[in-house]
Symmetry: C2
Subunit: 507 residues, 2 copies
C-alpha cells in the first residue's frame, strides 16, 4: 500500500468523522466553544456566512410578503403553559430567569436577589408570546393574512452540544403567520417549505427531501410538521428547516379570533417556520473535504482570493500592482446579484501557509500571482471544488471575462456532487434483514460512515417507528411529499402501507 | 382666540410632551408594550427603520475595518465580577438565570428545576465574555488590532420604562476592539465616536455634540467615555451613542496579553462602543410634529407613497394604471445608493384615512393621483416636512426627474430645522441665578418644555456636578470636544475653570 496523501485536516472523514467536523470548523475559524456551557462563539468567518444566509432568506421572505418585527426575549411561564403539548415539549430545556438583580451576600460575593413574582423563560421559540400580540392585532378578516418574521436568538438547554448542530443558544429566524382559513394556512406552510428547499438547493447547494414528519417527530403543539432533510457525508440525515401548520391550537391558546366575512367570531389558523445556524453545520458536512471547508460560491463571504507571490522587494511592487489591477477588474464582474467579492491577501505569512489557509477557509477560487503571471499577463488559479494540486494558467482577460461563470460552475458542481452522493446511498428496502444490515456498522471501531437513506414502507404505527429507533438508532426522517402512492408492506411489522418513508440515522 | 387647528396627534407636543411621544409611536405603529414587564414589541414599521439604521451603521463599521461576530447571551456571574466597577454598575439591573428546566410541582403547575452551579446573567453588555475570548485570540502584536462588532439584544432590568428610550430588553450593536498601544485605542475610540456623529447627522438628520462624559457618568469600568448628545423638542438632551476608551482595565480583568514588538508580554488597550434602538426614540423626538412621525428620507422604509383616488370602477382602472406606471418610473431613480423605494397604497381605506395614515407614519413624499392628474399627466404631491395642506401639482416627467432631489432637500431641511432648534435653545451662562431660572419651569402644570442646553463653566468637582442634579434635575451632558479653552468661573461654586460644559435635563 502506498503512503496516504497528506491532507490539511487530521483526522480524515474516513478515520473519524465527528472529529473531522470539529477540525474543519477550527481550521476555517468558523466558531468555537465558549466558557458558557453549551454556548458557542461564532467567529467572523462563520458569522459572515450567516450574514449571507440571512440576506438571501430575508429577501425571499420579503418577496413572499412577510415583514420583520421583534418580540421579547422573555416568555412568562404562564404563557408557555397555555398550550399543553407545547410546554411539555420544551419544559425540560428551559433557561429560567428567577431574579432581577445581584446583591452582596454576607459572606462576600454577589448572589441573585429581587425574586420575580413569575419566572421568565428565555424563549426556546416564540409562538406563545407572539400569539399574545397577534390576538390584539387581529380583529377582522381584513387584518389577515398577518405575515411576520423575526430574526433572533433562542435558548434550548442542551447537555451534549456540538458546534452549529446542537447548542444551548442559537441564532435563527422564526416566521409566524395568521390566516382566515385552513387552506390559506396550509398554502403558507407549503410555500415556506418550498422557500427553504429553494434556499437549500440553489444557495447552499444542498439537495433536500421535502416531507412530513411522523406524529412522534412533530413540533410540540403543531397539527402537521414539514421539513427538509439532507444527507451528510457520514450518510446521516440532517433536518435543515421546518414549517408547521399549527391549526387552531395556538389561536385557541392565545385567543387569536377575528370577525369573519360572514360576521361570526372565528379562531384563526396559524403557521410557524424556522431555519437556524444549524444550516451552517449542514453546509460544512455536505461539501467539505479532507482539506477543510468547501463553500458554495453564493454563500461564501469571499469569492476570489488573490495571493501575491514574490522573492524580493523589486518583485513585490510589480506583483502587488498587478494584483490590485486584477482585483479592480474582477470587482466589476457580477455574480449572484452583486459584484464578485475579491480580496488580495498581502499579509506577511509564507506562500504555502497562505494558500492552505484559504483552502481551509473554503474560498471558491484562489489565484496565485508571481512574476511569471505578471510577465505573461496571466492568472494562475485553483478551484476549491477540485484537488488543491489542480491549477490552471489562463490569460488575464479571459479569466476576468469568465470568473462569474466559473463561480456558477463551482456552485453547480457542488450541488451535483452532493446529489449523486445522496442518490448512490439512498436505497429501497422491502426486506427487514437487509434493512437491519444496511444500518449495522461493518467496522465496530469506526462506526461513523455506513448506511444512508432507506426508502421503506411504514404502516403508520408508533411501535414500528420505535423499534428501529431503539434497536438501530434509526428514525423516520420524513414521509416524502414527492413520493408516489405505492402499496406495500411495513418493513417492521409487515402490515399494510401505501407509501414509502425515509429511514435514517440522524443529527 | 381662534380655535386651535386640529392635529392628527392628541395631545400636541405643547400640551403634553411625554404623552405626545407615546401617541406618535402608536399612530405610526412603531412599537408597543408587551405583556412581559419592561419589554417592548417592535412592530414592522419600527423594525424596518431599525433595519435601515443597521444597514448604514454596518456599512460604516465594515468600511473602518471591523468584522461582525456573535458571542453568548449568557455571562457567568464570576465573569461579570472580574472588573469591580463594571459589576457594581450593572448588579442592580441583571436578569439572572438560575435554573435550566421546569418540572411539575406537587400542587400542579410547573416550577423551576435543575439549579445551576453558577447563576448566569443575561448580558447587559458583553465586555467580560468577549474579553474571555479575546484573551485566547490575542497572542502577539501581529494579532492586533482586533476589530469586532456584534449585533445583539441586551437586558438591563428597568422598573420604569418608555418605548425605545428605556426598556428592559433592547437591540443594539456593541463594538469591541483590542490594540497594541494607548494611542491606537484612543484613535479607535475617537474614530467610532465620529462614525456615530456622522451617522446621526447625515442619516438620522440629528445634529449632535460630541463630547466626553464627566467621571460620574462614565461607563462602569471605562477610563474615558465619549458620547454624542442631541436636543429633543422638549429641549431635553438624549445620549445617542457612546464610545469608551477602556485602558488596560478590561485587559487586566480578562487577561488579554500579547507579546509586543520588543518581545515583552504586555496588557492590551481595549475600547467598546454602542448604539441602540434608543436612536429611534431620538429620531421621533427630533423631527416629529403634531401630525405624527416625520422620518428623514435616508432612514425611511418607504420614500414615496402613491395614493390612488377614484370615484368608481371606470376611474379605478385608469387611475391605478397611471399609478403603476409612475411607480415603475420612480423606482428607476436612485437615492442614497439604492433605488427610490415607492409603494402604491391600493388598500380599501377611504382617501382621507389613507392620506393621514401615511402622514402619521412619516413617509417623506405622498402623491395623490385622481382623474385630474391622469388627464393632465401630473403628480399632486405633499412633503412630510411641510404642512399637510401644502401640496403641489407638477408635470409627471418633471417630478420623476427631481424626486431624488426632493428627498435630499427634505433630508437637509430636517437637519437644518433641528440644528436651528438646538442653536436657539443653547445659551451661555455665567450667572448662577440665570442658570437656575433657565432650568425652572415657568408653568408648573406643563413643566415639560422649557430650558435647553446651558453652556457654563464647571470646575470639575463632583459636588458641583451633584448640586444641579439634585436641585434642578440637570446634569452635565458632556464636555464638548469642539469647545475652545476659555478661562472662567464654575457656575456652581465660582471656582476656576478652563472650559464650558453642556448642562441639561436629560433622558
Amino acid at each position: 500500500m502506498g503512503k496516504a496523501q497528506k491532507t490539511a485536516i487530521t483526522p480524515t472523514r474516513q478515520d473519524d468523522y465527528p472529529e473531522w467536523y470539529q477540525q474543519v470548523i477550527i481550521a476555517a475559524e468558523l466558531a468555537e466553544n465558549s466558557p458558557v456551557r453549551g454556548c458557542m462563539v461564532i467567529k467572523p468567518w462563520g458569522y459572515a456566512i450567516w450574514e449571507n444566509i440571512q440576506r438571501e432568506l430575508d429577501r425571499m421572505f420579503k418577496a413572499t410578503g412577510h415583514k420583520n418585527a421583534y418580540f421579547p426575549l422573555f416568555i412568562p411561564k404562564s404563557f408557555l403553559e397555555k398550550e399543553a403539548e407545547h410546554v411539555e415539549g420544551f419544559a425540560k430545556e428551559c433557561a429560567v430567569v428567577t431574579h432581577h438583580r445581584l446583591e452582596a451576600s454576607p459572606d462576600g460575593g454577589l448572589v441573585p436577589a429581587g425574586l420575580l413574582d413569575e419566572p421568565l423563560i428565555v424563549r426556546p421559540t416564540s409562538e406563545t408570546i407572539i400569539g399574545a400580540m397577534f390576538s390584539k392585532w387581529v380583529q377582522s378578516y381584513r387584518d389577515l393574512p398577518l405575515l411576520i418574521n423575526q430574526w433572533a436568538n433562542v435558548v434550548r438547554w442542551e447537555l451534549r452540544t456540538r458546534l452549529f448542530l446542537r447548542t444551548t443558544e442559537f441564532l435563527w429566524q422564526e416566521g409566524h403567520t395568521v390566516h382566515e382559513t385552513r387552506d390559506d394556512a396550509w398554502a403558507e406552510t407549503m410555500r415556506m417549505l418550498d422557500v427553504y428547499a429553494d434556499f437549500a438547493e440553489n444557495f447552499a447547494a444542498i439537495p433536500v427531501i421535502r416531507g412530513e414528519k411522523s406524529a412522534g417527530e412533530r413540533f410540540p403543539g403543531a397539527v402537521n410538521t414539514f421539513c427538509i432533510e439532507a444527507m451528510m457525508q457520514d450518510r446521516k440525515a440532517l433536518q435543515a428547516g421546518t414549517s408547521h401548520y399549527l391549526g387552531e391550537n395556538f389561536a385557541k391558546a392565545s385567543n387569536i379570533q377575528f370577525s369573519s366575512r360572514s360576521g361570526e367570531l372565528k379562531y384563526a389558523h396559524t403557521t410557524s417556520w424556522g431555519m437556524s445556524t444549524r444550516i451552517i453545520g449542514a453546509l460544512i458536512m455536505t461539501h467539505s473535504d479532507d482539506d477543510g471547508l468547501v463553500l458554495p460560491p453564493k454563500l461564501s463571504p469571499v469569492h476570489v482570493v488573490i495571493l501575491p507571490v514574490f522573492r524580493d522587494e523589486s518583485q513585490q511592487t510589480e506583483v502587488l500592482d498587478y494584483c490590485r489591477r486584477l482585483e479592480a477588474e474582477i470587482k466589476k464582474r457580477q455574480f449572484n446579484n452583486g459584484p464578485v467579492v475579491v480580496e488580495v491577501d498581502d499579509s506577511e505569512k509564507r506562500g504555502g501557509e497562505k494558500t492552505w489557509n484559504w483552502i481551509k477557509k473554503g474560498v471558491p477560487i484562489r489565484i496565485e500571482i508571481g512574476m511569471r503571471e505578471v510577465t505573461e499577463d496571466k492568472v494562475f488559479y485553483g478551484r476549491r471544488d477540485l484537488s488543491p494540486m489542480e491549477k490552471k494558467a489562463v490569460p488575464r482577460g479571459e479569466f476576468v471575462f469568465v470568473v462569474a461563470q466559473i463561480l456558477e460552475e463551482i456552485q453547480q458542481n457542488l450541488y451535483d456532487r452532493a446529489f449523486d452522493y445522496r442518490r448512490e446511498r439512498t436505497l429501497r428496502f422491502d426486506d427487514k434483514d437487509k434493512f437491519i444490515k444496511f444500518f449495522t456498522p461493518k467496522n465496530a471501531e469506526k462506526p461513523e460512515i455506513h448506511g444512508g437513506f432507506a426508502l421503506a414502507h411504514w404502516c403508520g404505527a408508533p411501535e414500528c417507528e420505535q423499534w428501529p429507533a431503539e434497536n438501530l438508532k434509526v428514525t423516520i426522517r420524513c414521509i416524502p411529499l414527492d413520493g408516489a402512492e405505492e402499496l406495500g408492506k411495513c418493513i417492521i411489522c409487515g402490515g399494510e402501507s401505501n407509501r414509502r418513508v425515509v429511514f435514517a440515522k440522524a443529527y
